[in-house]
Symmetry: C2
Subunit: 194 residues, 2 copies
Amino acid sequence: MINEFKKYLIEKIKITDEQFESISSGLKVKKFDKNQIIQYKGDQFKHGYFVGKGLLRSYSIDAKGKEHILQFAPENWLISDRNNMNNEPSEFFIDAIEQTEAILVPNHFMDDATAKVPSLQAMHNKLLNNSIRFMQKRINLLLSATAEERYLDFIKLYPNLTLRVPQWMIASYLGITPESLSRVRKELANKHFR
Amino acid sequence: MINEFKKYLIEKIKITDEQFESISSGLKVKKFDKNQIIQYKGDQFKHGYFVGKGLLRSYSIDAKGKEHILQFAPENWLISDRNNMNNEPSEFFIDAIEQTEAILVPNHFMDDATAKVPSLQAMHNKLLNNSIRFMQKRINLLLSATAEERYLDFIKLYPNLTLRVPQWMIASYLGITPESLSRVRKELANKHFR
DNA sequence: CTAATTAATTAACATACATCAATTTACATT
DNA sequence: AATGTAAATTGATGTATGTTAATTAATTAG
């Protein structure tokens, strides 16, 4: 499992084996049951999670008790609370959609890594940059696209998650109700049948 | 104007005067007319803009020709195209809402700065992190809040822009039509009158 | 200062999506 | 396999926001 994390860092920030060994001691793995809530809004932890096996999600709960999914984190995703990273309480919940094993990654792991090995900085910046790009695209879709268009984008972007995640969660990620998503799917099925 | 950029970097990444001097030579200032389009979708530039005076915006145009505003950039904002930073063509347009003077900031300015002065890296990461936090909040609002709630959030977050920017642009940022925003405002006025 | 644009408001009507409620289907637990 | 629970579907209806179009107000340009 630690090895998966190494692969992740090799791919994302081009870390070397030796560099990884020098910073990875002390990483702990933790298991979570399905439906276990890992982090509540308001919590302040000093680590994020690298998912080795399973599936996590982060989400908010609005005044009416409705959940809104910010992010899915399947295998080989690093999910960090951006508020915790800034030493502020979390705005979001995190829970396990499936039974999950994850590495607890200290919030300053990346800072430490790039401090220790400055050559990693450029790639790490690129990683953050991609994260911003991704979110810009999502904002743009929320501003401009219909429910159907957003769903089509989702299944293209996350073909695996589409099968793995309950529909009501996909709806929640898209910003529509499960009923609406069901209708969107029916519409799409009809279109492709004709 | 260069001095404003120095102040920005002192505040945001805690650069020192000497450090700034060592990397700021060669920065160019450019003026833009009101309504001038600075960057088209598909363009690939090697610089972003630090706004010293005036106001820029980035936006997309959808299939129906409707604009959707991703970001406003008033004085002391650094607006960089995240696709260009990754050597890919831009997904968005940038234009000047007001007559603007901006510093052309090379895409790799920050990378260079942190490479030259590794101690800046932590703060730079924090800056990017804040950018992500901000976008997470916006996504969450788009998923969960009504037009009225989003507008109230906007005027609280950007009291100056609320006065400076035409309403139809605020509507475009919020993801609603100008007509709807007008009605939202009327509603709010009524509520506070009663 | 006036004319010409552009923005904002308002009203009537349309529509995408939400809500509520009832079934049906799938999934878990024993 | 049987039973209970949660998810998905479907239908009827509601509502927030969109669309179109007309009017008024505000800006901009000559």
